[in-house]
């Protein structure tokens, strides 16, 4: 989240917070009439300042609306050109394939792949949760080899850079009864 977006979110959050506290206060018996009269008096006495605050609030509201309605750009896919047109293999499809291939390796419990730099080559970050009593470097090598082989076979791409992060050692006591 950029600084501009954070600023807009912060301002809106403060405004919502003030409104929420006021609503709760009114519900608990607070009479806002005097406060509101005071604010109205101050506003009428400082028209230029009020106008400036209004302009800033308006701009923030427009930015907020624009950001909320902005569509996230579709993640790029693996693009291949053929004589008949373009073939795009989506990032989601590649991630599904990676998950499946990595899951075939014994000792891998969960896989969270992140695929980036799509175009003509792939960069894959695999966050793994592995079973206890596993030789992690060996397992990582097996996963890397399997994913590379599988992507070369199914997607036809051999230039894959795979980084593996073992995030967790599974503490689940439940063990599969059969393989």
């Amino acid at each position: 989240m950029s600084l501009a977006v954070r600023s807009v979110v912060f301002v809106f959050s403060v405004v919502i917070l003030v409104l929420a506290v006021s609503a709760i206060g009114i519900a608990l018996g607070w009479d806002p009439t005097i406060t509101l009269m005071g604010i109205a008096e101050w506003v009428l006495a400082h028209r230029v300042g009020t106008g400036l605050v209004g302009v800033v609030a308006f701009a923030l509201a427009v930015i907020g609306l624009y950001l909320s309605l902005q569509r996230e750009s579709e993640p790029a896919g693996l693009v291949k050109e053929t004589s008949l047109g373009t073939i795009v293999i989506s990032q989601a499809a590649v991630e599904t394939l990676i998950k499946r291939a990595a899951a075939e390796i014994e000792g891998v419990r969960t896989i969270r792949p992140t695929v980036s730099n799509l175009g003509d080559k792939l960069a894959v970050l695999l966050a793994l949760e592995v079973a206890p009593d596993t030789n992690i470097p060996q397992l990582a090598d097996q996963v890397r080899t399997r994913v590379q082989e599988y992507l070369a076979q199914t997607v036809g791409i051999s230039d894959v850079n795979i980084n593996i992060v073992v995030r967790e050692i599974s503490t689940s006591l439940q063990k599969a009864r059969v393989k």
Binding site: G77, T82, A92, A93
Partner: protein, 131 residues
């Protein structure tokens, strides 16, 4: 609805874009390795409403003599994706050309997902876990 119109000696022939879309969709799912078309949210809603959407996941642009097609497909697990996509391209091109006479200049294939056999709802009964 946009239509492709050609004139003959005894009148005109119009082929609706929808028709070209259906031809492309059917030609695509014929290819081995294609699990189905991916139509996004709108396609899903149309199917939920009970209407069979034969042009789901297909976008066509039809001119007087040429057509360009964009397809969104889901492939079956284990398929060699570039091979499947290329077969889809040539099958769609052949089908549209032979049925409408249009010259297909571009068939773009987007592979949006992978389908696994065990995820299919058609599985008749639960298999025993051990033999």
């Amino acid at each position: 609805m946009a239509e492709n119109e050609s004139r003959t000696d005894i009148g005109s022939i119009r082929i609706a874009n929808e028709v070209v879309g259906v031809i492309a969709g059917l030609a695509a799912i014929e290819v081995e390795g294609v699990a189905g078309m991916s139509g996004g949210i709108v396609g899903g809603i149309v199917e939920l409403l009970g209407r069979k959407n034969l042009s789901k996941g297909v976008k066509v642009e039809v001119g007087e003599r040429e057509a360009a097609v964009d397809l969104s497909i889901v492939v079956t697990y284990g398929a060699i994706i570039p091979e499947v996509a290329y077969k889809v391209q040539s099958n769609v091109r052949k089908a549209i050309a032979s049925m409408t006479g249009l010259d297909v200049v571009e068939v773009n294939v987007n592979v949006l997902g992978v389908s696994f056999p065990q995820e299919d709802k058609a599985e008749p009964e639960q298999q025993p876990r051990v033999k």
